[in-house]
Amino acid sequence: MEDKILQAEDLTMHYTTRAGEVSAVDNITFSVGKGESLGLVGESGCGKTSVAITILRLLPENAEIMGGRVLLDSTDLIKLSAEQMRKVRWRRISMIFQAAMNALNPVYKVGDQIIEALETHLAYMSIQESRERVEELFSLVGLDPQLMDQYPHEYSGGMRQRAVIAMALSCHPDLIIADEPTTALDVIVQDNLLREMMALQDRLGMSMIYISHDIAVIAEVSERIGVMYAGRLAELADSAEIFHHPIHPYTFGLMSAFPSIVGPKRELAMLPGEPPDLIDPPPGCRFHPRCPYSTEICIEQVPEFKDHGGGHLAACWHPLEASG
């Protein structure tokens, strides 16, 4: 219990749309250890970003948390008032969003935006202290401190993402949620940034939740990986375990469909069909219409998300052979 920084339990969140209720996050349970990096991987619309904004309670108006708890140490974030929650964001948990261009305000100098975050959350800081802190943060993420007086448009994509990381680090958070932090970047810049983030995590002892559609990126940065499908966690295990001995047929399908430049060139397997519409998700296991092993029970009952040995969790009625 003590070594966990965050625990999500039976988290459920719905969006109300004109077409109906969207079951975006359905009974999700996972935890993040102190200093650990957890990866959440899945395709668009699987609910991975919804999980992040539910934890941070940055929900749009049409979203509603239907149930579950999010324990930070022993505080349930869902029960906090808006004001109390504001104090948690940035100081305890901060977030790096997908599009760095949108995360920075184009009409303010980059350094000033970080100073603003510092002043809002750490009110005791003087201007001088804030500037020094920004300089320190810039050096930390590999940006020239002199750049703090420039505007976002003067930065390249990689530099902007570094600035966003500096901002996320500004108030010494215990946990950072990084949602597709390198998705729009070129591979060399991506490599550079991921290495830097891993080094920073090590150095500062933070916990990380990485969210991405890119299995290869998740494989490289995460110690444990959760695979999401249609609003639910399909599987969760140590990253080597999940890659070498996937239990859930969806995880297996995803891995087999993913090309790599390493190893012999193999046939890429194809998953039939497309992810379901979450307004009217399939009954039972949500993957059953696309699953090669599906039987009667998969249609009738939701499989329990349970331990298949050694902390390897999966929700499947017909698990592929688990390792010992």
Binding site: E43, V187, I188, H213, I261, K265
Partner: protein, 330 residues
Amino acid sequence: MISTKPLVKVEGLQKFFPLSGGLFSESRSAIHAVDCIDFVIPLGESLGLVGESGSGKTTTGKLLVRLIDPTDGHIYMEVEGGDVDIAHLRGKDLKKFRRNVQMIFQDPYESLNPRRTVFDTIAEPLEVQGVGNVIERERRVAQLLDMVGLSPPETFLFRFPHELSGGQRQRVAIARALIIEPTFVVADEPTSMLDVSIRTGVMNLMHELADRLGVTYLYITHDLAVARYMVDRLAVMYLGKIVEMGDMEEVLHHPLHPYTKALISAVPVPDPTFERALPDIIGSIAKPIDPKPRCRFYDRCPIREKICEGSDHPTLEDKGAKHYVACYLV
């Protein structure tokens, strides 16, 4: 399928975009988006074009289908039995050439007209080229829909793009590109917007159609892993230049150019136990505005020497088995 007959032959192809020089002064600077490139695509041997954003790969693709006009250079293609330099075709000849060449774009949400049905969209090239009557066109469109896996065709013919998923839209875009039976298709990141489970289906489809219809692709992508599955040969671009070109597996396993080496080692590997080498490269990509007469990679090269700065950008040289590289030190 593979023959030695070239389908496309590009010589000294250039595209400069002049930077605005103010209201009355003439522009003096230009972005050298594509700067004197040469390559050959044999019939049935798809070529992959990889590089970082700003390397000129999309501009090259657009030049090859003549969506934009080259600044200089030649593009030889076979049009109605004769070898023609299509780089400066106009009017009727250009239209005739367009029967042979089509393009598939990255974003199926933007490349389809939201007000046109699937039928209208796919049949448009037939209309433009004046092929067949309405009944024949409808039959042909239905055939194509079936071929791209949108079946039964009747259920798709009169749908609008917003009623289709991303994968289905890209299949419509592929059907539109292939309906006039082109021999050459430029595919610009056709799967980069698609999810993994959908992407593989579209990649397999493109392979299957290439075999079935005799189509050769120029496949533009930033993703080396995807390129590996789609093409026979690979060309690596950097700041408007091709720096390395050769057999896909050969380039992947035995890269020669320092840039190619860095690019390959930066690709994340979907295996947590795999230890990747640190990419050996300095700084980040610049814009090719009036580049200095030296190797374009000089600023970022880990092995640079005097000659690389003292001489103009090196030419592509065959290092054996049609593995070309542009580097003084290799």
